[in-house]
């Protein structure tokens, strides 16, 4: 069955590609000035790969964005998870933090962009701060929920076995909350990409968002397509890496899922 599904998927994507080629060809209804034809995309790709576009070649643009994503993700994920764990661990601390958190939470992450540009300009620090505003929230919420939902019996079992208080965090709390923490990290990563692209579109010197914004100004559909595709591929790649890490660390859980389903 999965083989058949894979076949249908391949056929579906192939069909879409053919549809695209036909629609943007001279016989098709779509003008290549509105949406690029495959050859135009190929040409744009060749240009950015060799001579470069928007100030640099593709590897440099990709590495700029990827570096910021990794940096922003690590900062937001680690600080958010730590705060979430603390809030789940200590209900009084949670009561202290929660109103402020709830006050700031409804603000759409992208709304911070103008303020952060005012504060820090268009450099890397500004990008990381905007990413932090966006990606911090899901990390906090999921880590906190993860700790709060730990079955009481597990904590009691650990205490019964004489686990000292300070070791409880490592032995029980973090591993038990880990599946929820990873749920948060996936959302965190998604938010990181969205915000970074937005921030780079609004103002930056390098990066894939910068490629998009230059291509938009030059009315260069082929390059817009290449920029979007590059963002998609990078997003998929980072998600895959996170998934790999999750499977490595949470082998006990991932394989537990089908048994429970």
């Amino acid at each position: 069955m999965p083989g058949r599904r894979g076949l249908i998927a391949a056929a579906s994507l192939l069909g879409l590609a053919l549809l695209w080629a036909w629609a943007t060809s001279p016989f098709g209804p779509v003008s290549p000035e509105r949406f690029p034809s495959p050859p135009l995309v190929g040409a744009a790709f060749l240009q950015i790969a060799t001579t470069g576009f928007a100030g640099a070649t593709l590897p440099r643009q990709v590495l700029t964005s990827l570096g910021l994503v990794i940096e922003g993700f690590l900062v937001a994920a680690s600080s958010g998870t730590a705060l979430g764990l603390a809030m789940g661990w200590n209900r009084r601390f949670a009561a202290f933090v929660n109103p402020v958190f709830q006050l700031l939470r409804p603000i759409p992450p992208l709304a911070w962009i103008p303020l952060v540009i005012l504060w820090l300009g268009l450099g890397n620090a500004a990008k990381v701060l905007v990413i932090w505003f966006a990606a911090f929230v899901p990390a906090v919420i999921n880590a906190e929920t993860g700790v709060r939902e730990i079955p009481g019996a597990l904590l009691e079992a650990a205490r019964m076995l004489g686990t000292p208080r300070h070791r409880l965090l490592v032995e029980v709390v973090v591993p038990a909350a880990a599946p929820m923490i990873f749920t948060g990290l996936r959302l965190c990563l998604q938010a990181t990409w969205t915000t970074l692209v937005a921030a780079e579109l609004v103002g930056s010197f390098y990066g894939l968002g910068h490629v998009l914004s230059e291509a938009q100004q030059d009315i260069y559909p082929g390059m817009i397509f290449v920029g979007m595709a590059a963002i998609g591929v990078c997003g998929w790649l980072t998600t895959a890496v996170l998934g790999w890490v999750e499977r490595r660390l949470l082998g006990w859980h991932a394989s537990a899922r089908p048994a429970h389903a």
């Binding site: 249908i8 998927a9 391949a10 579906s12 994507l13 509105r34 949406f35 789940g88 661990w89 200590n90 209900r91 009084r92 009561a95 202290f96 109103p99 402020v100 006050l103 700031l104 409804p106 603000i107 759409p108 992450p109 992208l110 709304a111 911070w112 103008p114 303020l115 005012l118 504060w119 700790v147 709060r148 730990i150 009481g152 904590l155 205490r159 208080r165 709390v173 998604q190 990409w193 969205t194 692209v197 937005a198 579109l201 609004v202 968002g209 998009l212 914004s213 291509a215 938009q216 009315i219 559909p221 817009i224 920029g227 979007m228 963002i231 998609g232 591929v233 997003g235 998929w236 998600t239």
Partner: protein, 266 residues
């Protein structure tokens, strides 16, 4: 040992107020003590004053309510479009496996392109017209509508359908009394997520492509180094987003009650 019990309501309230007090004290104090220039971090009262001022005095061509009205119009357009396309497609994918097999890979491929990355095409296709932001809101709101509906449609147990058949349920009854109530909670949950993501995408779009709306006002404020205007904009955006979410929550509750999915106190 994580604390299992929440603090008493009184203690929680006191702690929460203390937290808020610290937050506002740091915000206000940073400017007063000269740690940060007031140009870059105006105090809470200044920002509140600016917010009230913007209610009646135009900035960047319109008053705050006018900007918000322009934004909400686009927002409504994008979200409604997402529902019109996503809802039937999601139901169809849930109920007809072959369609699911065809559409899912395309959807999966597009999933990793953030809605905001559609801005250049939106600008190319629609210029500064209303279509651009609507497209971006659509790309933000569409996936959760589709996924929520799809899950809802898949959620209905075959045994329930068989039971209904066995009881001689007519096709029309089947739709209104079995299929929809089964799918509706997940659909409404998807709509709520869609509303949130759509609002976020709108703000992103308005930072880039248009010449009116709340996002545009904030960009203009940023260019003029009017920090209090930008911060007033952030607050307005947060308030409207909260209002939208509250509305949808109420709707979700009403729908769940309508379909008998809420028990007494839960």
């Amino acid at each position: 040992m994580p604390e299992r019990a929440s603090p008493s309501i009184g203690l929680a309230a006191a702690l929460g107020l203390a937290g808020l007090a610290v937050f506002f004290a740091v915000w206000a104090g940073a400017g007063v003590l000269g740690l940060v220039s007031a140009t870059f971090l105006p105090g809470p009262l200044t920002v509140l004053g600016e917010l009230l001022h913007l209610l009646t005095h135009p900035y960047a061509g319109a008053t705050l309510p006018q900007h918000l009205a322009a934004s909400l119009q686009r927002y409504g357009g994008g979200v409604v479009l997402a529902v019109i396309v996503g809802l039937p497609l999601g139901l169809a994918m849930g109920w007809f496996r072959p369609l699911d097999a065809v559409v899912s890979p395309i959807f999966d491929g597009l999933r990793f392109v953030p809605p905001i990355a559609w801005v250049p095409f939106a600008a190319l296709w629609f210029g500064t017209g209303a279509g651009g932001p609507v497209l971006i809101i659509f790309t933000g709101a569409f996936p959760p509508v589709l996924i929520g509906t799809y899950r809802g449609a898949r959620m209905i147990e075959p045994a329930l359908i068989e039971a209904a058949r066995m009881l001689g349920t007519s096709n029309r009854r089947m739709l209104t009394e079995i299929l929809l109530p089964g799918a509706v909670p997940s659909i409404v949950a998807g709509l709520r997520v869609a509303a949130g993501l759509g609002w976020q995408s709108l703000i992103g779009a308005e930072l880039i492509v248009v010449s009116s709306g709340i996002g545009y006002m904030m960009v203009q404020g940023e260019a003029a180094v009017a920090t209090s205007t930008v911060m007033a904009g952030i607050i307005a955006v947060g308030l409207v987003g909260t209002a939208i979410d509250l509305l949808l929550r109420a709707a979700e509750r009403a729908v769940r009650r309508r379909y008998g999915l809420v028990g007494g106190g839960r």
